[in-house]
Symmetry: C2
Subunit: 306 residues, 2 copies
């Protein structure tokens, strides 16, 4: 298709008027606002940028005859395969949230180790005591995808030994990446576990009573993957012996009466790994790249379905 | 003195019985407990390890005829010069607290940027909103001593540009270290300031109304140096526009009714930079090294006075 095509105008929808302003410099692009909650545009849409915070629900009503590509602003796409009509291409947001999510994981981990959450809650009390640290500790990083790589960069300078674990054992220029089958022997040797795995059948409830029981007293588990990777009831049972800091829960939102909120040694943030000032410039770069590819007659990048 | 000396026994005091147990393997050393609050031992003490958390007060009553070297467990030594009798050597704890203090600075900074302190205070509320991040930001590190170097290591992987400032401009293999005289032009260009300077006449109230006014809206100031480096009243006046996270205050302890505790956007920890699990192995290594030097007839390392 390259070369022979006449110049044409790409029809792109964006979820709000701010997006129209940001992309106003684009040429050969007709930009309109559609937030996926109003009816699908009558005209054919080449590329539809989805709102960031929506559930997968609603995709099943889309007409594939009038919609080419959906660009999600999220990295995860749980539930999309079950609802997306055949004929529509779905792209996730690669390179948009990994750095920000890894940053939040380190923020939660450091807050938990150095008890910053306690200082915030006990404001007014000058209550000094020794805390844990990352220095001289072993940190197990479970998941070596985009977030895992950004975790390695950020944790490298903290004087800890990083123990990388992925689905299968391999070696790279940093050394060994252990396989998940090695977890039973690794868990008793580490002080920290950071979970950055995708949600799959294999990772659902990966962190259960047996996983937590294998960790030494005082260990910390940080979860920035997906809530169902961890059995929340097991965490409540092991709290006191194990600390836990998580940006994701099951369910979400976590109801106000859920025991995780009030369990000592548990710190919860409301799924804000990607919700930082780093997001907008990165998702905008993704959308601009996809527009350029479609105008060039190429397929979009980062297709996960369709 | 090297070579000709007969083997002798070094008289070392330590602040508690746990220290006696930890050093029990030392040979040619007579270990006794003295915590500086009971009367000075009648026998001559070659090396006295001071308790970690004591005020400088009390040193003026020491008899230099019966005391050779004091090993402090702290890095700072404010007030010691004014009270230490002539003839006693005072050593600070170099290499013991720098890593831990830099770690806490990053913990406070990340908590402040990603609002982890708010999540801790608002437990039970699923209140998502976008926050600041370190990604793409400029971080000014004021002070290039031991803590400053450890800050650089830890902040290197966070996707921020590090702007290093010391008392005088110089260059090293990382690039330029700016001089403090460049602060007026640098401050408006940075998003974060981390203070890791010693307390001197020049740094007392260095961060005042004019310093804070030069920072852009939304900037964060983190202080892990000494409380008097910052004018706390100026912080209270600028809070709302500038955020502030500090491990040190003036005075310490910060009284419960002090406005810093309750000012929005201000996070206070109770001077616990060095109070982590990293401390004990490091101060023990320092004491063992000093014992070995004294047994070898050498002077102690890290003498700051005497």
């Amino acid at each position: 298709m390259i070369g022979g095509m006449a110049p044409r105008t790409l029809h792109v929808t964006v979820p709000d008027v701010d997006w129209v302003d940001r992309l106003a410099d684009l040429t050969d692009v007709d930009l309109t606002v559609w937030d996926f909650s109003s009816p699908q545009p009558e005209r054919h849409v080449d590329l539809a940028v989805r709102p960031y915070t929506v559930a997968a629900a609603g995709l099943d009503a889309l007409d594939p005859a009038r919609l080419g590509v959906i660009q999600s602003q999220a990295l995860g796409f749980d539930g999309v395969a079950e609802t997306l009509p055949a004929g529509i291409t779905y792209c996730n947001a690669v390179g948009v949230h990994e750095e920000s999510t890894a940053e939040l994981a380190v923020a939660l981990l450091l807050a938990s180790q150095r008890e910053v959450d306690r200082y915030a809650r006990e404001a007014g009390q000058w209550n000094r005591r020794f805390t844990a640290s990352l220095i001289d500790r072993r940190i197990l990083l479970l998941g070596q995808g985009g977030i895992g790589g950004e975790l390695v960069k950020r944790l490298d300078g903290f004087g800890a030994e990083l123990v990388r674990v992925a689905s299968r054992r391999r070696e790279d220029d940093r050394g060994v990446v252990h396989g998940v089958d090695e977890l039973p022997s690794l868990l008793p040797t580490v002080d920290v576990v950071v979970l950055a795995v995708p949600l799959t059948d294999d990772t659902t409830r990966l962190v259960d009573d047996a996983f937590l029981a294998a960790l030494p007293d005082g260990a910390v588990v940080v979860n920035v993957s997906r809530g169902p990777v961890v059995d929340g009831d097991a965490v409540v049972r092991e709290a006191g012996r194990i600390r836990f800091a998580t940006d994701v829960t099951a369910p979400e939102p976590l109801p106000p009466e859920h025991p995780l909120w009030s369990t000592p040694g548990v710190l919860v943030s409301p799924h804000v790994g990607g919700m930082s000032s780093a997001m907008q410039p990165r998702i905008e770069r993704v959308v601009r790249r996809q527009v350029a590819r479609l105008l060039d007659g190429l397929g979009p990048d980062d297709v996960v379905l369709g």
